[in-house]
C-alpha cells in the first residue's frame, strides 16, 4: 500500500515535484540532509567572495560556517546559494535556503510584512557618500545638482531620496546594478558621487587606482544594521543562529580566540567562559546541540573580532575601522546577552 500511495503521490505531482518529507523543525531537516543551505550574496568585497580555489569566503559566509561548525563540527558542511537583491527573500521564504547571511538591512517591514526573523546584527553599517577629492566638497549638503550612482532595489535608493528631500537639494540618479559597475561608472566620471553603505564605499575606494584622490564624506545618512535572518515560525532554529552569533561576540568580549579556545575549554576561573565552552553546565542541550557547540564554532571560525580583522579589518585592503562595530566595552555598540 505504501508503495502504491507513494507512486500515486509522485504521479499526482505530474512527476515533477517531490515532497521533501514531512517538515519537522529546520534543525532536524538540516541534520538529516547533512548540510546547511546558506543564502549569500553573489559577490561583495570582504563580505562574500570566492577565493582562488573556488571556495566562498568572507564576513557573511563566516556566519554560515560558524553555524555549520556548531551543528556538524565541520565548516565544509555548508552549501551556498547565491542570491541577488531581488531573489534573496523568496529564496528564504520558500525554503530554498535555511538561513540568509547576505548583508541584508534589518528593517521593520522585512521583519514583519515579509514574515522573516532577523536573529541579530553582525555589522552596523550606514549609508555614506564618496566624491573625488578635486571636487572640493566637504559635506553632503554641498551636493546640490550632483549626479549620484546608486544601486537599484536597495534601501540605499530610498534613503538617498529621503535625505535629499529633507535637505531640499536636487540630484540626478544614475541607476546601476552592481558595486563593480558603480566603480566603473564612478571612475569614468559618469557620476559625481557614489553612494552606498560605508563598508561598500571603503572597499570600492580601496580598489581605485589612487584611493587618496577620493574622500568619503562625513555624513552617514542612514542606519543599516546588517544581520542574518531566518523564516518566521521556527524559533528553535532562529535561536541556534542567534546564539552562534552571540557566542562569537561573547568570545571576543571574554578574550576567547580560536587559538586559546582549546586551553580555555578545559576549564577556567571565569564561569561564563566555562558555560560558553561547555565545561560547566549544558547550554547546548537547550538548543538541541551538544555541550561543545560554541567551542567548535569559535575553534573553527574564530571570534567576532578575528573574523572582522580577517576579512574587512584594518589590515585588509578594505580597511574598515571597528568604530561602532566594536564591543560595548571598547566604545562600540556590540552587546551580546549573557550566557547563563
Amino acid at each position: 500500500m505504501k508503495t502504491l500511495s507513494k507512486f500515486a503521490l509522485s504521479a499526482a505531482a505530474a512527476g515533477l515535484i517531490a515532497s521533501a518529507g514531512a517538515s519537522a523543525g529546520t534543525l532536524d531537516d538540516v541534520k538529516s540532509k547533512g548540510f546547511l543551505q546558506c543564502g549569500i550574496s553573489t559577490g561583495f568585497p570582504g563580505f562574500a567572495f570566492t577565493d582562488d580555489a573556488g571556495n566562498w569566503q568572507g564576513f557573511d559566509p563566516a556566519v554560515c560556517k560558524a553555524v555549520a561548525a556548531a551543528i556538524f563540527g565541520d565548516t565544509e558542511k555548508v552549501k551556498y546559494t547565491t542570491t541577488t537583491g531581488k531573489t534573496r527573500f523568496t529564496a528564504l521564504s520558500s525554503g530554498e535556503v535555511d538561513v540568509l547571511a547576505r548583508n541584508t538591512t534589518w528593517t521593520f517591514s522585512r521583519d514583519t510584512d515579509l514574515k522573516l526573523d532577523f536573529v541579530g546584527i553582525n555589522y552596523y553599517d550606514g549609508q555614506g557618500f564618496m566624491v573625488p577629492a578635486e571636487l572640493g566638497v566637504s559635506s553632503a549638503k554641498d551636493l546640490d545638482g550632483a549626479s549620484v550612482c546608486i544601486q537599484t532595489g536597495t534601501t540605499t535608493e530610498l534613503n538617498l531620496a529621503d535625505y535629499f528631500r529633507t535637505n531640499n537639494i536636487s540630484y540626478e540618479a544614475v541607476p546601476i546594478e552592481t558595486n563593480d559597475e558603480a566603480r566603473t561608472n564612478y571612475v569614468a566620471g559618469r557620476c559625481d558621487v557614489y553612494t552606498t553603505d560605508a563598508s561598500g564605499l571603503a572597499s570600492t575606494r580601496s580598489a581605485l587606482e589612487d584611493p587618496s584622490a577620493h574622500v568619503v564624506l562625513p555624513e552617514i545618512i542612514s542606519k543599516e544594521p546588517l544581520g542574518p535572518l531566518v523564516r518566521h515560525g521556527d524559533s528553535e532554529w532562529a535561536d541556534i543562529i542567534r546564539w552562534t552569533l552571540n557566542a562569537m561576540i561573547t568570545a571576543e568580549e571574554l578574550g576567547v580566540t580560536s587559538e586559546n579556545v582549546d586551553k580555555m575549554a578545559t576549564g577556567t576561573d571565569n564561569p561564563e567562559i566555562n558555560r560558553l565552552l561547555g565545561s560547566e553546565g549544558d547550554l547546548g542541550a537547550m538548543i538541541g546541540l551538544d555541550k561543545a557547540w560554541a567551542w567548535r564554532a569559535i575553534k573553527m571560525v574564530g571570534n567576532y573580532g578575528e573574523v572582522f580583522e580577517q576579512f574587512i579589518g584594518k589590515e585588509t585592503p578594505i580597511g574598515i575601522e571597528r568604530g561602532v562595530n566594536d564591543l560595548w566595552t571598547n566604545g562600540g555598540i556590540l552587546y551580546s546577552p549573557p550566557f547563563r
Partner: protein
C-alpha cells in the same frame, strides 16, 4: 622572329598576364583605397585612427600584460597592461563553476562527446554518419548522467531512446502500405514522452520504490524490464507487420515496460550505489552553465518551435488558438520576467518543501522563450512556400505529416536558416541574464571573483575574456549558417 599570330586549339590558349598597372598591390590599393578624393580622405582618417588605437590596445592585451601573478598588486608591479594572471588563477572557476575538483573530468568528457555528437548532425559528409546518429540521439541522456551523476539508468534510457527514435525518424519506409509514417510519428512522440517522464522522475525525484525482493529480485527486475523493452522494438525489425499492429504492439509494450519500471523499481539493474557521485545543479557555473543552458535551449526549442509554427497554421481551431496564444504571450513578456517567475513566483505556487530544481526551471523558461521566437521565424519560412506545393503533395496522396516532412518543411526551413541561427545566437547570449536570479554564469563568477580584495578592480580583464568566449561561439554559429546556406543553395536565388 616574326610576330605571327599563333593559333591555339580551342580551350588551350595560355593565360596572359594582365597589362602593366592593372594588377598587383598598387592596383588593388588604387582601386579599393584611393579611387576618389573622398576615399583618399577616408583611408587616411581610418589609418590615423588605427594608429591611435592599435598600439595601446596591443600593448594592453599582450605586450605589457602579466600572465602569471598572485594578486592585483603583484600584477601592477610586473606590468602596466592586462592582468591575465587573474584569469589564469580562476580559469577553473570560470570554466566549471563550483563543480567538484575530482569530478571535473566528467565535464571535459561530456564536452568532448558533445563535439563528437555534433559532427554527424552538422556535417552530412561524416563517415558512418548513420551509426553516429544513434550516438547523437543518445548523447543528451549520457550528458545528463555525466553532469548530474547517479546510477547510469538515464544513460541506458538514452541508448534505448536512440535505438527507438533514430530508425523511425531517419530510416523508416515512408511509403508503407498502411501509412506507417503517421504511426511512426505517434510512436516517436509517445516514446519521447515516456522517456522524458521516466527520466525526469528518476533523476529529480528519486522515489526509491522498493518492493523488497532483494538481490535476486534486482536481477529479475532488470531482465524483465529489458525483455519488455526488447519486445517494444520488435516492430522496428519485423517489417512484415501491418502498420496498425506495429503501432499497437509498440505502444502496448512500451506502456508495460514503463509501468513495470515504475512499480518494479527505479534502477536499471545497476546497484543503487551511485556509479557517479551526484553533483547538484547549484554547483554548475561558469562557461559550463552557459553551454548547458545554451545547448539545451537550442536543441529543445527547435523542434518545439517548428511544432508551434505548424500549429499556428493548423486548420484545427483549438490547436491554432492555443499555439497563437502561447506564442503571443511569450513574445509579449521579457525573458527576465520569465526568469523571475521561474526563480521566485513558482516557489509560491508549489507545495512547501517541494524541491523543483532551479536550473530545470530556468531551462524550461529559456526553451519556451526561444521556441516562441523560433515559431515565428519558421512561420515566415512556411508562408514563403507557394500553396501549389502543399496542393501538389495532397494530389500525390501524401498525408499531412508526410507532406510537411517531405515537401514543405525542407523548403521552409532552408529559407529560415538565417533567422533561426539569429535566434540561436540571441538565445546563447541571453543566457547571461541568469546572473540576475543568482545563477553564476561567467559574469556571475566574474563578480564573485572580483569581490576578492586580492583581485578587486580587474573587471575589464574579466569582461574582455568573457567577450572572447562569446565571440568564438557566436561567430562559429554564424559561419556554420553561411556554410549551410551555401550547401542547400539550389539556384533559385538570383546572385
Amino acid at each position: 622572329m616574326e610576330t605571327a599570330t599563333r593559333a591555339y586549339p580551342p580551350g588551350e590558349h595560355p593565360d596572359q598576364k594582365p597589362p602593366i598597372g592593372q594588377s598587383g598591390v598598387l592596383y588593388w590599393m588604387h582601386k579599393n583605397l584611393f579611387s576618389s578624393p573622398f576615399n583618399v580622405i577616408l583611408t587616411l582618417l581610418t589609418a590615423y585612427f588605427l594608429y591611435l588605437l592599435l598600439p595601446p590596445l596591443f600593448g594592453w592585451l599582450m605586450i605589457d600584460s602579466v600572465f602569471v601573478a598572485d594578486s592585483r598588486d603583484h600584477c601592477r608591479e610586473l606590468g602596466s597592461g592586462a592582468c591575465w594572471g587573474f584569469i589564469g588563477k580562476r580559469l577553473g572557476q570560470f570554466t566549471y563553476g563550483f563543480y567538484p575538483h575530482d569530478e571535473r573530468w566528467r565535464v571535459v568528457l561530456c564536452f568532448a562527446l558533445f563535439v563528437a555528437a555534433c559532427v554527424p548532425i552538422l556535417w552530412d559528409g561524416a563517415p558512418n554518419r548513420k551509426k553516429w546518429l544513434y550516438f547523437a540521439a543518445a548523447f543528451p541522456f549520457i550528458a545528463f548522467w555525466l553532469l548530474i551523476g547517479g546510477n547510469g539508468s538515464i544513460a541506458a534510457y538514452g541508448i534505448l531512446f536512440a535505438l527507438v527514435v533514430v530508425p523511425v525518424v531517419y530510416f523508416s519506409p515512408i511509403d508503407d502500405a498502411d501509412g506507417a509514417d503517421t504511426g511512426g510519428l505517434t510512436y516517436v512522440l509517445l516514446a519521447v514522452w515516456a522517456f522524458l517522464l521516466i527520466g525526469l522522475q528518476n533523476i529529480f525525484f528519486s522515489t526509491d520504490v522498493d518492493i523488497g525482493i532483494g538481490g535476486l529480485g534486482n536481477v529479475m527486475r532488470t531482465l524483465i524490464t529489458l525483455l519488455l523493452i526488447g519486445l517494444t522494438m520488435v516492430p522496428l525489425f519485423h517489417r512484415g507487420m501491418a502498420g496498425k499492429l506495429r503501432r499497437q504492439w509498440a505502444t502496448g509494450f512500451f506502456a508495460l515496460a514503463a509501468l513495470w519500471h515504475f512499480v518494479g523499481g527505479t534502477n536499471f539493474g545497476f546497484s543503487s550505489d551511485h556509479l557517479l557521485t551526484i553533483v547538484d545543479t547549484d554547483q554548475f557555473g561558469g562557461f559550463m552553465l552557459t553551454m548547458v543552458i545554451g545547448v539545451t535551449g537550442i536543441v529543445v526549442s527547435l523542434p518545439l518551435g517548428i511544432l508551434l509554427a505548424l500549429g499556428r497554421q493548423s486548420d484545427l481551431h483549438i490547436i491554432r488558438w492555443v499555439c497563437t496564444g502561447f506564442i503571443e504571450f511569450i513574445r509579449g513578456v521579457p525573458l527576465i520576467a520569465l526568469l523571475f517567475v521561474a526563480s521566485t513566483m513558482l516557489n509560491y505556487f508549489l507545495p512547501p518543501g517541494s524541491n523543483f530544481d532551479l536550473l530545470l526551471r530556468v531551462l524550461i523558461m529559456v526553451v519556451l522563450f526561444s521556441a516562441a521566437y523560433l515559431a515565428e521565424v519558421v512561420r515566415g519560412g512556411l508562408q514563403a512556400i507557394p500553396k501549389g506545393q502543399t496542393e501538389a503533395a495532397d494530389a500525390m496522396g501524401l498525408r499531412y505529416w508526410q507532406s510537411m516532412r517531405l515537401i514543405v518543411l525542407p523548403q521552409a526551413l532552408k529559407i529560415s536558416i538565417p533567422g533561426i541561427v539569429n535566434t540561436f545566437i540571441g538565445l546563447f547570449k541571453d543566457t547571461t541574464l541568469v546572473v540576475i536570479i543568482g545563477l553564476l554564469d561567467p559574469l556571475g563568477i566574474g563578480r564573485a571573483s572580483l569581490s576578492d580584495t586580492k583581485w578587486q578592480g580587474l573587471s575589464t580583464e574579466v569582461y574582455v575574456f568573457i567577450a572572447i568566449f562569446f565571440f568564438i561561439c557566436c561567430f562559429s554559429m554564424s559561419r556554420y549558417s553561411i556554410y549551410l546556406e551555401n550547401k542547400l543553395h539550389t539556384g533559385h536565388r538570383e546572385d
